[in-house]
């Protein structure tokens, strides 16, 4: 019997490809976001709502959509005049760096791109472990969910830099306590920056879009 010491990250291969993606995207000065949430929290709606704001600023951006099946989300985003590429993962519950690497040729076909939003498969568990090569992971949670979600799904909240609490217009009709949700999120990840949005009323969308634009411009300058 032999014992062979390995001491390697299980997702080392994914991390390597993610590092290549990050380098390639950074070379072109593109700020990249990995947008995650449970299904139905409003990731695509948030992108749709931000589209006009980002165009006004102006920020040139494109979207890569990850879903199990179909190109419904890419079509929704394209209708807002935003270039979108659909990746279908089949049965996989998350995007990985390898899948994203295949979309880069399409991404780089758009000259002068400043911001890339990768909308991950709706899932609050699996995407936490898969680095795609993004600059920031952003979690969206909605007021139709529980305000204890950060405590129940801590991995995704600790992996994120930003949190968007969406559907604030619905809050009066649910038991969701925004103050408590903020507290829970900051307990799990004290470094989270938190935004509140409603895609229905437009509340907070401009602030969030402007913040992303600043991040993208800062990256371009660096």
């Amino acid at each position: 019997m032999h014992e062979i010491l390995i001491e390697e990250k299980i997702l080392a291969r994914n991390d390597e490809i993610a590092a290549e993606n990050r380098l390639a995207l950074s070379d072109k000065g593109i700020y990249t976001i990995n947008l995650v949430s449970s299904p139905g929290a409003g990731k695509t709606s948030l992108i749709e709502s931000m589209a006009d704001e980002l165009k006004k600023l102006p920020v040139s951006f494109a979207v890569v959509e990850g879903d199990l099946e179909g190109d419904f989300d890419a079509k929704r985003v394209e209708r807002r005049g935003v270039p979108a590429l659909q990746i279908t993962t089949g049965r996989a519950c998350h995007l990985d760096a390898h899948q994203v690497s295949h979309s880069l040729q399409w991404v780089f076909g758009h000259a002068g791109l400043e911001l890339l939003i990768i909308e991950n498969v709706g899932n609050m568990v699996c995407p936490a472990e898969y680095d795609l090569g993004e600059d920031a992971m952003i979690t969206v949670m909605s007021t139709a969910e529980g305000d204890d979600k950060p405590l129940k799904y801590p991995a995704i909240f600790t992996a994120s830099e930003l949190l968007v609490i969406n559907k604030t217009d619905l809050a009066p009709y649910t038991d969701f306590d925004i103050t408590k949700a903020r507290e829970n999120a900051l307990k799990v990840n004290p470094y989270l920056k938190i935004f509140e949005t409603s895609c229905r009323t437009g509340e907070g969308v401009k602030e969030f879009a402007t913040y992303l634009a600043e991040l993208a411009k800062a990256k371009r300058r660096s």
Binding site: I4, I6, E7, I10, L11, C93, C126, E129, A155, T158
Partner: protein, 113 residues
């Protein structure tokens, strides 16, 4: 259920290491899983057992070392286990806490002939 893709990644590394070291039959695989990862040890065991059926790895055992979420106080350097995300040093009460463990997702070693 991404434990299956995690298992696949584990077995890819294992196969490469076995080949490099001239190991033909796998007896045990040791991995380290942090509390703050999105990997559930029981689900990983289940996926591992299914994934190795009918492969050269069949019969191998998976040993999981679970690592709790650990913190270190930036003020008094006390190291402790963080429970219920209480970001406070149990010794001096400071909330300047650095998280030192809990994110592990490592393959430690393999045993075989």
């Amino acid at each position: 259920m991404h434990e299956m893709s995690i298992t696949r990644s584990m077995l890819e590394i294992t196969a490469a290491q076995m080949e490099a070291n001239g190991i033909h039959s796998l007896k045990k695989l040791k991995v380290r899983i942090g509390e703050l990862t999105a990997v559930e040890p029981d689900v990983l065991r289940f996926c591992f057992d299914i994934a190795i059926k009918g492969t050269p790895f069949e019969g191998a055992a998976l040993e999981i070392e679970e690592v709790p979420l650990g913190g270190k106080c930036r003020i008094c350097a006390t190291e402790f286990k963080i429970t219920a995300f209480e970001n406070r040093c149990p010794k001096c009460g400071s909330n300047e806490i650095e998280r030192t463990s809990g994110h592990e997702l490592d393959i430690i070693s393999l045993e075989g002939d």
